[in-house]
């Protein structure tokens, strides 16, 4: 027993004092935070315009009713009279103006006389702000148009027609990407420490020094796995924290009205549980890859296809649009089950049976992996391959 702890302590000492390794442990969490915050602000911009941006609108023959239309879009704007059409269009191309709106003369009078005046909206779809302004103003104009001079009425009432609750909306957005992103970051976190752990000993020849000690092969394997797991778990917890902190930003704040309150304590605990077993699994898989390789370089080469498989399996979990798989046996498949559980947890369709199957299945696979690793340590063919 004490030799397991000795080996574990030495590995931990190495991981936690090596700046390069420390960085790669913290980085996934930071990246999750940055990425999700970034995605959050993109969502917000698409749905409700950039709040910090003042859209420049050039108009011609602006009717009074248009002020009300603009108000409905909720954007900040500055509106000015266009000198002429050519100038306004050139301004859009140059980015000085985001949108140019040309109304027929006496627009409001015409609508009240049941004539059909026209309004032309010019924009630059290659410019994000211009595109957003167009999307928002166009739909606001359309909405008003059907109310004023209806051909037929579509969703013309005052109530909200999207019956999805705010909670469901937020769940859908998160669950679609979360499993994929989380799996990749957890895997890369594990990769940073695990790939070189055993292959490095082979490369440096220290494996022989270790193997001529009377320590049992299985104890060496367990000591290494424990150290790697603890290290990867620290990385995983940092990823988890990064994720939790970025969620409110991802939800787009008040603008979309999507809130975090949908997720309770059990969601977070469940997520942490899935993260822990997944990290253990990744650690064991990568340690085996490392043990089978002759050098650190070879180990990282072998780790790439494994990563691609993990990515592919996580992508599969995005296919059914965030709704978790309902076949219990699907939760026996490693990686897929973790991704599905995260989907389930965040789409508010958490199923405790599936969660338990996932946890148990992962623990069984980890156990098998540790057993295999001990066997590998015993195999002279693999430990001293030419």
């Amino acid at each position: 027993m004490s030799d397991i702890i000795t080996i574990m302590k030495k590995e931990l000492k190495r991981f936690f004092s090596d700046k390069r390794i420390l960085l790669s442990l913290i980085l996934p969490g930071v990246l999750i935070y940055v990425m999700y915050s970034f995605m959050g602000s993109i969502f917000e911009n698409v749905f409700s315009g950039n709040k910090d941006y003042t859209y420049i609108i050039a108009e011609e023959n602006k009717p009074d009713s248009f002020d009300d239309v603009l108000k409905r879009t909720g954007i900040k704007y500055e509106i000015k009279k266009a000198e002429n059409e050519e100038k306004a269009k050139a301004d859009i191309k140059d980015g000085n103006v985001d949108i140019y709106i040309k109304f027929d003369e006496n627009f409001d009078e015409k609508t009240s006389e049941n004539a059909v005046p026209s309004v032309e909206v010019y924009y630059d779809s290659a410019n994000v702000n211009s595109q957003t302004a167009y999307t928002l103003i166009y739909s606001a104009l359309l909405e008003r148009s059907v109310k004023v001079t209806p051909v037929y009425l579509v969703n013309a009432g005052e109530e909200s027609y999207d019956l999805a609750t705010k909670q469901e909306l937020s769940a859908m957005m998160i669950t679609m990407m979360l499993p994929f992103i989380l799996m990749i970051f957890l895997f890369t976190g594990c990769m940073a420490v695990s790939t070189e752990s055993i292959a490095g000993e082979k490369e440096r020849g220290t494996i022989a020094t270790l193997l001529v000690t009377p320590v049992k092969r299985s104890h060496i394997a367990i000591g290494k796995i424990l150290a790697l797991s603890i290290t990867s778990l620290v990385s995983a917890v940092i990823s988890f924290i990064g994720l939790i902190f970025s969620l409110p930003k991802l939800m787009g704040g008040e603008a979309t009205g999507i809130s975090l309150s949908a997720y309770g304590f059990s969601t977070y605990i469940g997520t942490l549980g899935v993260i822990i077993v997944t990290v253990l699994l990744f650690t064991v898989i990568l340690s085996i890859v490392s043990a089978l390789s002759k050098s650190i370089k070879e180990a990282s080469q072998f780790a790439m296809p494994v990563m691609i498989v993990v990515m592919a399996v996580s992508v599969l979990s995005m296919v059914n649009q965030g709704a978790a798989n309902t076949n219990w046996w699907a939760y026996l498949i490693p990686v897929y089950n973790s991704a599905q559980c995260i989907s389930g947890l965040f789409s508010l369709s958490f199923n405790s049976l599936f969660f338990v199957i996932t946890v148990i299945s992962n623990i069984v696979f980890v156990g098998l992996g540790v057993f295999a690793l001990a066997k590998i340590f015993n195999s002279e063919k693999i430990m001293f391959n030419k």
Partner: protein, 258 residues
């Protein structure tokens, strides 16, 4: 003379990958690395295994140090079989190769304690032994410097000390001076002579004649996995230099022109 090591009829065949088969230019996908090697080493001597590349030196030494299992035969360290009782044999031997590169990141002090603990040396004994060894080989003042910041010579000394933390009477050293410059090589050979003076039995492998002539008491010549000659260095080199003795044997064994 007290027999510390007894090697009896060791045989080892490796299965080769296709790639290895190609590079070794073999018709068969197996390679007989060690083909019935027997010899003994006696207390307090330095025994040299001399042979060209691929002769089977490393394989022989790995079998003796319990790292790999022979297909046939056995080796006994102080009467303990390395095949039947590897754990007990490990306590009696120190194994080292010049290929060993300690992790840059740790200090000699830490690594010593680490391997001491893995060898099950009692803490107080370990501390006393560490102080003595570090002192004797001039490591004390570098005890808390990271390996990565030390000279190659110092690294080699530390590797040596670390492989004898359990104070074995029998030390196996594969290619002790391989890839070292003359100064570092001298540090290592001085170290080995020092250990010999402490009454340790040492077995080294090498393809360098001068090293054998300088430090070995007895020498065994391995060619193509077979021990073709064994004897006291003094007696073997009575008539002609070791190099000539070797080449005569080599021509006879391989039938090749050199």
């Amino acid at each position: 003379m007290e027999e510390i090591l007894k090697v009896e009829g060791l045989k080892k065949t490796f299965k080769l990958s296709r790639k290895q088969q190609k590079t070794e230019k073999l018709a068969d996908r197996t390679k007989v690395a060690v083909n019935g090697i027997s010899f003994s080493a006696y207390k307090g001597e330095i025994f040299g295994l001399l042979g060209p590349n691929g002769a089977g030196k490393t394989t022989t030494l790995r079998i003796i140090s319990t790292l790999i299992k022979p297909d046939d035969g056995d080796a006994f360290i102080d009467g303990v079989s390395v095949v039947k009782n590897p754990d007990k044999a490990r306590a009696k031997l120190g194994f080292l190769t010049s290929e060993l590169k300690l992790e840059d990141f740790f200090t000699p002090d830490y690594l010593y304690d680490y391997f001491s603990s893995l060898h099950g040396v009692e803490k107080s004994v370990a501390a006393e032994r560490k102080a003595k060894l570090f002192d004797r080989f001039g490591i004390t003042e570098f005890a808390h410097v990271k390996i990565g910041d030390l000279s190659t010579g110092m690294k080699q000394k530390i590797s040596l000390v670390i492989s004898i933390v359990h104070d074995p009477d029998f030390i196996i050293f594969d290619e002790p001076t391989n890839g070292l410059d003359v100064i570092t090589a001298k540090t290592v050979t001085d170290f080995l002579i020092e250990l010999k003076n402490l009454g340790k039995t040492i077995i080294i492998s090498t393809h360098i004649f001068s090293l054998v002539e300088k430090i070995c008491d007895r020498v065994g010549v391995i060619i193509n996995g077979k021990m073709v000659l064994i004897g006291k260095l003094k007696e073997l080199t009575e008539l002609k230099p070791l190099e000539d003795v070797f080449f005569d044997l080599y021509l006879k064994e391989s039938g090749e022109n050199v």
